[in-house]
C-alpha cells in the first residue's frame, strides 16, 4: 500500500481528479484507481513518474530503521479511539508536571 498511498497523496495534493491525472500521465482513470486501491503495484519508476506528473518529486535516502514506536502503536491500536486520546491526554499531563517541576 506504500505506492498506493503515495500516488493518492500526490494526486490530491495537486488537486487533480483520477481522470485529470490519467490524462496527464497517458493512462485511463481506471488504472490510476487500481493503483490507489492497491490492487496493482506499479514499479518504483512508474510511481516516481506519476508523482512528477503531479508536480512533485520524491526525495529518498537511506536511514537507520527505527522501530522504537512500534510497541506503543501496537498497544494503542488495541484500545478504542476515545481511550487512545485519553491515554495521550494522561501522558501530556504527566509531561506537563515534569516540565513544571524542572
Amino acid at each position: 500500500m506504500f505506492s498506493a498511498d503515495l500516488i493518492r497523496r500526490a494526486r490530491l495534493r495537486a488537486g487533480l481528479t483520477q481522470a485529470e491525472l490519467g490524462l496527464r500521465f497517458g493512462r485511463p482513470p481506471s488504472q490510476i484507481a487500481r493503483w490507489e486501491r492497491g490492487e496493482v503495484s506499479p514499479s518504483f519508476e512508474t510511481v516516481l513518474s506519476v508523482i512528477r506528473a503531479c508536480g512533485f518529486d520524491l526525495t529518498l535516502g537511506l536511514a537507520d530503521r527505527d522501530e522504537s514506536y512500534v510497541p506503543y502503536i501496537e498497544r494503542l491500536l488495541d484500545l478504542t479511539p476515545t481511550e487512545r486520546i485519553e491515554d495521550a491526554l494522561e501522558r501530556e499531563a504527566v509531561f506537563g508536571e515534569i516540565r513544571g517541576a524542572a
Partner: protein, 156 residues
Amino acid sequence: MGQDVEFVVIGAVAAIAQGYPLNTQDLDITPSRDPRNIERLATALKRLEARLRVSGEPDGVAFPIEAEFLGKVDSWTLSTPRGDIDLLFVPAGTTGYEDVKRSALRMRLWGHEVLVAHLTDIIRMKEASTRPKDLAQLPALRQTLEIVRERERRQS
C-alpha cells in the same frame, strides 16, 4: 461542539485516535465553509467562550465571534476554558473541508459521532507544511499508517 457544526478533526488528535503514539496540546479542526455552518460554528464558539490565543496573554484576547468575520480568515488559533482549539479552513496540501471529508473516518468519541481525517490525509497535510514541527511528526505518522495497513491486510 454541539450545534450540529460540520467539521473534520485533523492534526495530532485525529492521528492519535488512529494509533499515533505522540502527544498534543490542542485540537485542530477543519469546518465546512457553508454559510449556515459558519453561523452554527460562531454560536458554538460563543458558548465555548473562545478567545484568540496570543503569546504573552495567558487568558487569550476577546474578539467579536461573528460568522461573517469568522469565515473570511483561513485559520484561527483559539483558547477556551476547555482547551485550545485551532480552526483550519484550508489545511496545507488540501482544498478544505470537502477534500478532507472524502476519506474521513466516522468515529465514536466520548459517545459522539465525529469525522476524523484519515492518516493518509494527515500525512498529506504534514508533508505540505513548511513548519519543522510538522515535518518532525512524519516518521511516526508513516509508521502508524504502515502498522494500521498491516493489520487491515491481516484482517481481510
